[in-house]
């Protein structure tokens, strides 16, 4: 009996929708490269001074709210008064040549993999141009073609507590949208994309600019906006962490939702709607 049902389902044609515009697809794949380079070269730059401060100044004798380092033979991540042992990953780890290194982020997380602040800065500052040019271009196109207004901004109904809660429960149970509902973004997706596009990315760029002494002369208001250069550096780091969290969840959701269909849709634009679950109410 079950087989018969399945056969019927296989035979039924599944709807293919055009889900991703060409601008979205190009920007996505540019960012796969650019964002990874920015994060990994940024971690190497952090390794040059693995301490974060709030305020206008901050150096070794000042209080650091976050630091990564080695205490004796142990790697430690310290946030406020909390010390987390991280030996092998952060603060103290072994490189591929078998040498023990007392550096914050390990070789596999940085560009280049061997310590070089100068080289990492070359990568970071070059790719920052690609990030900004790509991002501003995508912003402009996505407002013009109504992608932002039509697809990304949540509706008032979607933002109602009941709807949000339902969506959170569905995600927690991994009951991902099927059928027609999968043709558009759900509200958690919308909120995370809007958050990255209009909060995280702009803050990363602006705090990056606020750390530049040349830009401080040109646009001193940036420093006031973030409460000083060292605060800007801390916010820059936190936004990087938010970006990493987004990427982890994003990749996880792609795998759960069917990686072949999802990745194909980001290449060709066409997305095959998942078939409704047996017994599950379509939503």
């Amino acid at each position: 009996m079950a087989e018969a049902v399945m056969d019927v389902e296989h035979a039924a044609p599944r709807t293919v929708v055009y889900r991703h515009r060409v601008a979205t697809r190009i920007w996505h794949w540019i960012n796969v490269v650019v964002v990874f380079v920015m994060i990994m070269s940024g971690l190497m730059i952090f390794n040059a001074h693995p301490r974060l401060y709030w305020g206008k100044y901050g150096a070794n004798s000042d209080y650091a709210w976050l630091q990564i380092g080695a205490i004796g033979d142990r790697g430690v991540l310290q946030v406020g008064q909390v010390k987390v042992p991280t030996t092998g990953v952060l603060g103290r780890w072994t490189d591929p040549q078998g040498r023990v290194q007392n550096r914050a982020f390990p070789h596999w997380a940085t560009i280049p993999s061997n310590y070089s602040l100068a080289d990492a800065r070359r990568w970071h500052l070059f790719f920052s141009w690609l990030l900004v040019i790509g991002g501003v271009g995508y912003w402009a196109i996505s407002f013009a073609n109504r992608h932002v207004i039509g697809d990304l901004l949540p509706t008032r109904k979607e933002l109602s507590p009941g709807h949000l809660w339902q969506d959170i429960k569905d995600h927690a149970r991994l009951r991902l949208p099927t059928g027609e509902a999968a043709a558009t973004y759900n509200v958690l997706q919308k909120l995370s994309y809007v958050g990255i596009l209009f909060v995280v990315l702009p803050l990363l760029v602006l705090t990056g600019l606020a750390m530049s002494p040349g830009m401080n002369a040109a646009w001193p208001w940036l420093l006031d906006l973030f409460g000083g250069r060292q605060s800007a550096r801390s916010i820059h780091f936190l936004m990087m962490a938010a970006m990493v969290a987004f990427i982890v969840v994003h990749v996880l959701m792609v795998i759960l939702a069917g990686p072949v269909n999802e990745i194909r849709s980001m290449i060709t634009g066409r997305y095959r709607l998942p078939k409704p679950r047996n017994g599950g109410e379509p939503r």
Binding site: A59, A118, R121, G214, M215, N216, A217, I255, P259
Partner: protein, 252 residues
């Protein structure tokens, strides 16, 4: 071996990321790719210069913003016996030579420099590593010295020759004339209401406030006006630029 989807994806992930890492390291050592990355420095400099007026000031702070401890970095005490003798003698015989493409090459004593107009500024020092310290600097605007020596036609850069050794070479740095004539560009002889401590570059250090810390040459004993940086060191304009691939334009 049965290859299931999960294992395949895992293998792609691990393989892909190690390929990516090796690829990045290989690219990092590729001369062509490095020269592409260096284009970013020129772009950044032109963009910053485009939106910044020549005299736009670096932010200045108040006494309440001063770092409790102004960190010293790089050389804390130059190693030469000559410098030690100067330090023991409170630098009374220290001379600052100003030569190269100038109309009136000359050398200045600290006493002479002390009688020149003083500019005091509370500014933030940003090390390329990431830390910042705010200090109150006292010194003579470089423009005053430039007016005294008079640049000759063709002078485009100032090279600062320093008394501190880095292995076989002495520290050197360079700036262009836009920064040289900037109102906040001073040769500082004082920090936080005291004479400049040895660890911060006594008796004279450059302050070039719109750039990162390594441009702010310490222990300056000679300034040379040149038309090109090609003949200085390895030709990139500074100790860290020549030796370790740091940017000559350190405004970012």
């Amino acid at each position: 071996m049965i290859v299931n989807r999960r294992r395949l994806l895992g293998a792609i992930g691990v393989g892909g990321s190690s390929l990516l890492l090796t690829g990045c390291d290989r690219l990092n050592q590729n001369a062509g790719f490095q020269s592409l990355l260096k284009e970013g420095e020129g772009l950044t400099m032109r963009a910053q210069r485009l939106i910044t007026s020549r005299d736009a000031l670096a932010p200045e702070f108040t006494g309440a913003d001063l770092s409790p401890v102004f960190r010293s970095n790089g050389t804390r005490m130059p190693g030469s016996p000559a410098y030690a003798a100067h330090a023991a003698n409170r630098f009374v015989d220290w001379r600052l030579a100003f030569d190269g493409l100038v109309q009136r090459p000359q050398s200045f004593s600290l006493a002479q420099i002390g009688t020149m107009p003083i500019r005091t500024q509370i500014t933030r020092h940003d090390c390329v590593e990431g830390w910042s310290a705010i200090g109150k600097w006292h010194g003579v605007p470089l423009k005053i010295l430039l007016d005294q020596v008079g640049l000759r036609d063709g002078a485009r850069y100032l090279v600062f020759h320093c008394a501190d050794d880095y292995g076989p070479v002495r520290y050197y740095e360079s700036i262009d004339l836009i920064d040289a004539f900037h109102p906040q560009t001073i040769l500082a002889w004082g920090l936080n209401d005291h004479l400049l401590p040895v660890q911060n570059g006594a008796p004279l250090r450059l302050r070039v406030e719109r750039q990162l810390g390594y441009k702010h040459a310490k222990y300056v004993e000679r300034i040379e006006a040149v038309s090109s940086l090609a003949a200085i060191g390895a030709g990139k304009g500074g100790y860290w630029e020549d030796g370790a691939n740091y940017e000559w334009y350190a405004g970012a």
